[in-house]
């Protein structure tokens, strides 16, 4: 299900798949698609997410069958075969994944047969049969993990009770993905855990193959990944917990730590000492700048994960006043919407803000324009700057799509990220 949309945020399924594959070291996507899909999908996510793009292959360096009229009419499998062969010959990858564009999907090319010619010879080539028109980047994230669960992740891997897998943060779609994963890794490592982020530390396809040995899957998202998490549990016996939103600041990060600790029965003394140390670190800074930021009545336009993190930190930990929160990614299931609303409305002291689910830029602008309560700070994407300028509201570019910032390892996640977030909001005007 896809709606007519003004200034959409993110790309098609292929964009999401490409974002994930591009973030895994030495993995090569191969497109069986029209000539522009490599660029379009890379530009949809990587090109609008703080200007960082996959350095193995991305955009015009991705192998592609570039289907033209001839392939549309007569089928493109022979073109795909020679494209896969060429990719194997020249690109030094540990695994190759064949993606289907709309063109191949509509004409019905059988990519499974073609890839099996290679996989039967022991070459790691895997088909992903989900054409672009099937959905958006978020679905692409789930699709690629479903593919891994079905075709890549091994069974019978010895269990490691200290190993955890992190899911829910989409690389290159969340502009702060790598910094966020690094902060999560840092915190969990302090608890004595080994962390599969999959997209940092040079982790590659081998990490994915062996990730069934984990003791716990941690899904950091209020709504994504329910299907794959259940499928993972069923096939490999790894339970999952859902952290219902990104954690920004001491309160929610500590809540995250306790959730993981409880699921894994970690040693209380260790957990409490880590929490105490980390919270002290945060407050050591906060106490050096009390009253430096002027008080704000704020609005957020973001994906659900970060909207929850931003809102809860600013309301619960920083005593700003939440006015309006717009979830700007398509969320369809009522139970998912309820979970998101609960996280945003269930605040410690602050009155709950208005929560809207709007993906269309005209409607987003309209909601902010017509908001009766005063807003003095807007955290949003590059698309949302226009309305902030129009209403003369302080604007922080903090969500996807993000074109006017370069983001390497910056993050607003966790204990340390909340300090960066607070720094960025500072305004001497």
């Amino acid at each position: 299900m896809s709606n007519v949309m003004e200034n959409p945020k993110g790309g098609c399924v292929l964009a999401g798949i490409n974002s994930v594959l591009g973030a895994i070291d030495r993995v090569c996507p191969i497109y069986h698609s029209g000539p522009g899909c490599c660029m379009q999908t890379t530009a949809s996510d990587q090109g609008q997410s703080g200007h960082k793009s996959s350095c193995f292959v991305s955009a015009v360096s991705i192998p592609s069958s570039n289907m033209l009229e001839k392939e549309v009419v007569f089928g493109g499998t022979s073109k795909l075969r020679s494209t896969i062969q060429g990719a194997i010959d020249i690109i030094d990858a540990d695994a190759y994944f064949v993606l289907t564009g709309c063109t191949a999907g509509i004409i019905g090319d059988d990519i499974v047969s073609v890839t099996s010619e290679f996989s039967e010879k022991g070459i790691p080539v895997y088909p992903i049969e989900t054409p672009g028109f099937a959905g958006d980047s978020n679905l692409g994230y789930e699709t690629v993990w479903n593919t891994f669960i079905d075709q890549v992740i091994e069974t019978g891997v010895p269990k490691d009770d200290k190993l955890v897998n992190i899911f829910g943060i989409i690389p290159y779609h969340d502009p702060f993905w790598s910094g966020a994963l690094e902060e999560i890794d840092r915190i969990l490592s302090a608890l004595g855990l080994k962390v599969n982020t999959f997209f940092t530390k040079g982790q590659g396809i081998d990490t994915i193959r062996k990730c069934s040995g984990a003791a716990l899957n941690i899904v950091i998202s209020p709504w994504l990944f329910t299907g794959p998490a259940k499928k993972f549990e069923k096939k490999f016996g790894v339970p999952y917990i859902r952290i219902p939103g990104m954690f920004v600041g001491a309160t929610d990060t500590t809540r995250f730590v306790r959730s993981v600790a409880s699921a894994l029965n970690l040693d209380d003394a260790l957990v409490e000492s880590v929490i105490a140390r980390e919270e002290r670190y945060v407050y050591n800074y906060l106490e050096q700048a009390i009253g430096v930021l002027s008080w704000k009545r704020f609005a957020v336009v973001s994906d659900a994960n970060n909207a929850i993190g931003f809102t809860r930190y600013l309301a619960n930990d920083y005593s700003f006043t939440p006015v309006l929160v717009i979830i700007s990614e398509p969320v369809f299931r009522p139970e998912d919407k309820e979970r998101i609303i609960k996280e945003i409305e269930d605040l410690e002291y602050a009155r709950p803000p208005k929560v809207l689910f709007l993906t269309d830029q005209y409607e987003i602008n309209k909601a902010i324009r017509e908001e009766e309560q005063e807003i003095t700070l807007l955290i949003g994407s590059s698309n949302d700057r226009e309305i902030a300028l129009e209403k003369d509201i302080q604007f922080i570019l903090g969500s996807f799509p993000m074109s006017e910032r370069l983001i390497f390892n910056r993050t607003y996640t966790g204990y340390r990220g909340s300090l960066t977030f607070t720094e960025d909001i500072y305004d001497n005007n």
């Binding site: 896809s2 098609c12 522009g36 955009a59 015009v60 494209t83 020249i90 030094d92």
Partner: protein, 484 residues
């Protein structure tokens, strides 16, 4: 004989090809003899599709809505035009920077089965309800093309419903062409058919159509306008940062010219046929030689040959001492160039201004126009490799690694990892063109090539994704005759 209507697909022109590996000398001889055959690549990397160009060409128009009849992914590359539009407003002093109004119909599984007409109708209705725009462009996609939505018929029926918004369908399905510049032609064909409609209007003395694509910076626009105003011309700068009114003015012009070789080149021929507007099609005005050539071209069309020589002499007097200083820093450096059609040949001419030597050239298409440039380059440079490719980084890195140039001009991403000093002549946010642009560009090139520390250190820490064995192979190994 009935006039053959140009389809907008650049491959439909005889003798034009996209896949070839050769040398400057060999390709020009073979072209003359008619021995070049159309080919394909049995292995290739991704291309830019023509839909990207159709959209980018128009997305800065005022009072317009842009409707992409496609899945959501097909507007990914629109970010480049969106960014240019936003930055361009800042450069033009606009404080309340606006987004372009881009609506995607979001073709999905249901539309693939039942057709996408309902979604397109909804998108047009939203465009009109929300913005009451003067123009609404409808762009096709691979998906809408293959499922067979008749956007012309749908737009025609909607036009009756919404008489105040001019609906302009544009046929830019990606699978129709390997040459992304076809998308420019598709846009102009529709502008002629739906906006200008072959209606002649009163001429405006001294008015010149200056066709500019989305990659032209505001600094470059001002320099082009300055140069043309020195000839006494008034400039109709289109379609970048223009409007329906300015497009409607096109037939009133006395002459046309373009900033880019593959932008509006076909359209200017049409304007001559349909509206008696003569045109100049030369080169991109980057570097002294090319700027002179471009300037003389348009001056000749408007009968200002004498005036232009006086201005050129004055401009040369002003900038040549400064260019000499740049030349002293760059003389003799061996260069590899990769770019789009306009910029790649412009860069090749530019390096001659600076006394540099061409060792390799990567450009997307070969045709009559390219032949003229190659013959000119053959007259200056002893021998150089030519790769007819739209990017294809795997061939590029093989060639760059083999030729070991002192400098690389083009997208730096891959050559940088080989440690080669890199620079570029494409900058949509800063000056590159005309006499003023040349100094900024020349100093940038000299400074960047003089200080290659970043690339040297990057190469020591970073590896390209290709196998070592690939660098030993023939770079043109995958080019096969008789393809698409």
């Amino acid at each position: 004989m009935a006039k053959v209507t140009y389809s907008g697909v650049r491959e439909s022109k005889p003798g034009r090809l996209n896949d070839l590996g050769s040398t400057g000398k060999e390709v020009s001889e073979n072209y003359k003899k008619g021995c070049l055959k159309r080919a394909d690549r049995s292995f290739a990397q991704g291309l830019q599709c023509q839909q990207i160009n159709s959209m980018a060409a128009l997305m800065s128009l005022e009072d317009s809505v842009f409707i992409s009849h496609s899945p959501q992914g097909c507007v990914g590359c629109a970010i480049m035009a969106v960014d240019m539009y936003r930055v361009g407003q800042i450069h033009r002093g606009v404080r309340l920077v606006k987004n372009p109004r881009l609506i995607v119909t979001n073709i999905d599984q249901k539309s693939v089965v039942f057709g996408g007409e309902a979604k397109l109708r909804e998108a047009v209705r939203k465009a009109v309800d929300r913005y009451n725009p003067k123009l609404a462009f409808v762009f096709t996609s691979c998906a809408s093309g293959i499922i067979g939505d008749d956007i012309d018929a749908i737009c025609e029926s909607l036009q009756a419903e919404y008489p105040d918004t001019l609906l302009v369908p544009i046929h830019c399905e990606g699978f129709k062409s390997k040459i992304c510049a076809s998308g420019f032609d598709a846009a102009f064909i529709s502008i002629n058919k739906y906006i200008l409609k072959h209606q002649k209007i009163a001429k405006e003395e001294g008015l010149i159509n200056l066709f500019a694509p989305t990659t032209v910076s505001y600094a470059d626009q001002k320099e082009m306008e300055r140069m043309l105003s020195l000839l006494g011309a008034k400039v109709n700068y289109i379609p970048f940062y223009s409007s329906l009114e300015k497009i409607r003015k096109i037939p009133a012009a006395q002459a046309s010219t373009s900033i880019c070789k593959v932008f509006a080149d076909e359209f200017m021929k049409t304007l001559e046929e349909d509206y008696d507007i003569p045109y100049s099609h030369t080169v991109m005005p980057i570097g002294i030689r090319n700027t002179d050539k471009w300037y003389r071209g348009i001056a000749k069309v408007i009968g200002k040959e004498k005036e232009v020589e006086e201005i050129i002499a004055r401009e040369h007097e002003r900038i040549e001492p400064l260019v000499k200083k740049i030349r002293d820093r760059l003389q003799g450096k061996r260069v590899f160039i990769c770019g789009g059609t306009g910029r790649s040949f412009a860069a090749a001419a530019l390096i001659d201004d600076f006394g540099m030597e061409l060792v390799g050239l990567e450009t997307p298409t070969y045709d009559d126009d390219a032949q003229i440039d190659i013959e000119y380059l053959n007259g200056i440079h002893k021998d150089f490799v030519i790769d007819i490719a739209n990017m294809q980084p795997f061939e590029q890195v093989n060639l760059v690694n083999r030729l070991k140039p002192d400098a690389f001009i083009g997208v730096p991403e891959w050559a940088a990892k080989l440690g080669v000093p890199t620079t570029h002549v494409l900058d949509g946010k800063r000056p590159t063109m005309g006499y003023d642009g040349l100094l900024f560009l020349g100093n940038k090139i000299a400074d960047q090539l003089e200080n290659p520390g970043f690339n040297k250190k990057l190469a020591a820490h970073s590896k390209l994704p290709y196998k070592d064995s690939w660098y030993e192979e023939n770079p043109f190994k995958y080019i096969t005759e008789g393809g698409n």
